[in-house]
Amino acid sequence: MSEASTSDTVLERSQTTGASYAPVSPCDLEADAVGKTFGEAYVFRDVSFRLARGEAVALVGANGTGKSTLLRCIMGLIPVSEGEVTLLDTPVSAARPRDLRDLRSRMGLVSQKHNLVARMSVLSNVIHGLLGQRSGLRYWTQTLAPAEARDAAMAALERVGLAHLAARRADRLSGGQSQRVAIARALVAEPRILIADEPCASLDPAAGEDVMDLFFNLVRDEGVTVVFTSHNVDHALRYGDRVLGLANGKLQLDATSASLAPTDLRGLYD
């Protein structure tokens, strides 16, 4: 890793890959020449970017360009094949399992399929968001959970407007409600970084707008750093401070949203 990349400031590219950088604020996440292969085939290679604290970055690209794979590499859920991801000043590939769990406990994941535990209550699902910080039997279900965990989970549900559904089974929720619960689960542990993989892809347009508004209102309030993927160009430009574009196995675009028009992103899908 270069000396410049280890500094605690992030250098933001002004337009496309290869353009000049300008320091803006402390760096929460850095990808340095990251590549991923499955077998002999490259999904992507030489992907480099840095995220400032509190920054929201949209990762866009056509199906199969490796957006979700890149997010999983960032979280250390799957190993990178080359390069390095540095999260909160810790290189992910060198982290021991215990350190990796500590890192993840300061992160949250919201995914397209919501991934709630279907047969458990909404409240239990949100309490599970605390498992990275507080492990053990008492956090497995709301019935056994300590009062402070229940209170924190109820507060998170209150913020997404679903406190009244705390006792309902997760598989009895609508798609929009499920995604709100998934957001509450991601926020309950007060993460520094949030990863959102197409958070509204499985929702109808109106519910999708609601979820994106809610999600970004909450994370903006708390200064959380966000990386999200989306096929919705308008969402990428509206909610992202910056847009990263993957195409043909490379990072083809890294620019501020303010400098882009929707038509600039269409080429990534050709």
């Binding site: 859920l77 769990r101 993840r104 992160m107 949250g108 709630l116 535990v117 279907a118 910080q133």
Partner: protein, 275 residues
């Protein structure tokens, strides 16, 4: 048929039956030889097939009407109750003990591949030994009576449920587990909070099948002195008391069918119409 369908196709449809390769043809021929050889080894005899129905009819004639005398029914009823107790106790203990075994057998959960392989091999051995053989072993170990039967059912259930619980957990939706792993949760927390709840409908279904299997097994364990109604069946045949033996057979059929119906109803009530 439309005009479009009548238009010439650029690619013809595949053959209805593909010609087997030479190796596949040899494989089919070998399989056929093995089957014929098995019939010979099993003493398959057309002559006996022809002469058996009259003998079977003779048995039915001597067994009917079944023995429905009150004292016989009372004695057999208690034995059937003991049979159900053996089945229920053995199945419940077996299901409970299957959980930790299944956790070790399931690939990619809490144990490494070596542990998975060793535990799966042991489970394979447990399943390969028939329940009646386990009953003989436990009669030697703990003596005659229902306790030996219960232990045999328990071991048989561990072999069955341990394997299928492990498969159920491996096949469970990985999404919730990944979501919890992404929060920094440890392996045990992820299994307890995501994998086990996701697999729980399959656990319920497998457990109910195990109970049905236990009831069927427990009816014959008495043949080797491991308690239950099986001993009454053996005594009935040994003493040529076919009416009483027929009563035992009918009782077993009624109870097993009733348990299967009850189990099916419970499965639907608890987990709906999924597997």
């Amino acid at each position: 048929m439309t005009d479009t369908a009548a238009a010439p196709l650029s690619t013809s449809a595949p053959a209805r039956v593909e010609r087997p390769s030479a190796i596949a043809f040899l494989g089919y021929a070998f399989a056929l030889i093995i089957i014929v050889w098995s019939f010979a080894g099993a003493g398959f005899s057309i002559e006996k097939m022809v002469t058996a129905p009259p003998r079977f009819a003779d048995f039915i004639d001597r067994a009917f009407p079944p023995n429905f005398e009150p004292d016989v029914l009372a004695r057999l009823g208690w034995k059937m109750l003991e049979t159900l107790q053996i089945a229920l106790a053995g199945a419940v203990l077996g299901v409970i003990l299957s959980f930790p075994v299944a956790l070790l057998a399931a690939r990619g959960l809490v144990a490494g591949p070596w542990v998975n392989s060793v535990v799966r091999t042991i489970l394979g051995f447990v399943r390969a030994v028939p329940d009646i053989a386990w009953a003989l072993v436990f009669v030697v170990a703990v003596g005659l009576g229902p306790f030996a039967g219960m232990l045999a059912i328990m071991v048989d259930t561990i072999g069955f449920c341990g394997r299928f619980f492990a498969d159920d957990m491996e096949a469970a939706d990985k999404g919730p587990a990944e979501a919890l792993t992404a929060t920094g949760a440890g392996k045990l927390d992820v299994v307890a909070c995501a994998t086990v709840p996701a697999a729980s409908p399959a656990f319920v279904s497998t457990s109910l099948f195990a109970l049905e299997k236990a009831v069927r097994s427990s009816t014959i364990l008495g043949l080797v002195g491991a308690g239950g109604i099986g001993i009454e069946l053996k005594v009935g045949f040994d003493l040529f008391d076919y009416p009483t033996a027929m009563t035992v057979i009918l009782m077993i059929a009624v109870v097993v069918i009733a348990i299967e119906q009850l189990s099916g109803w419970a499965r639907t009530k608890i987990i709906g119409h999924q597997r």
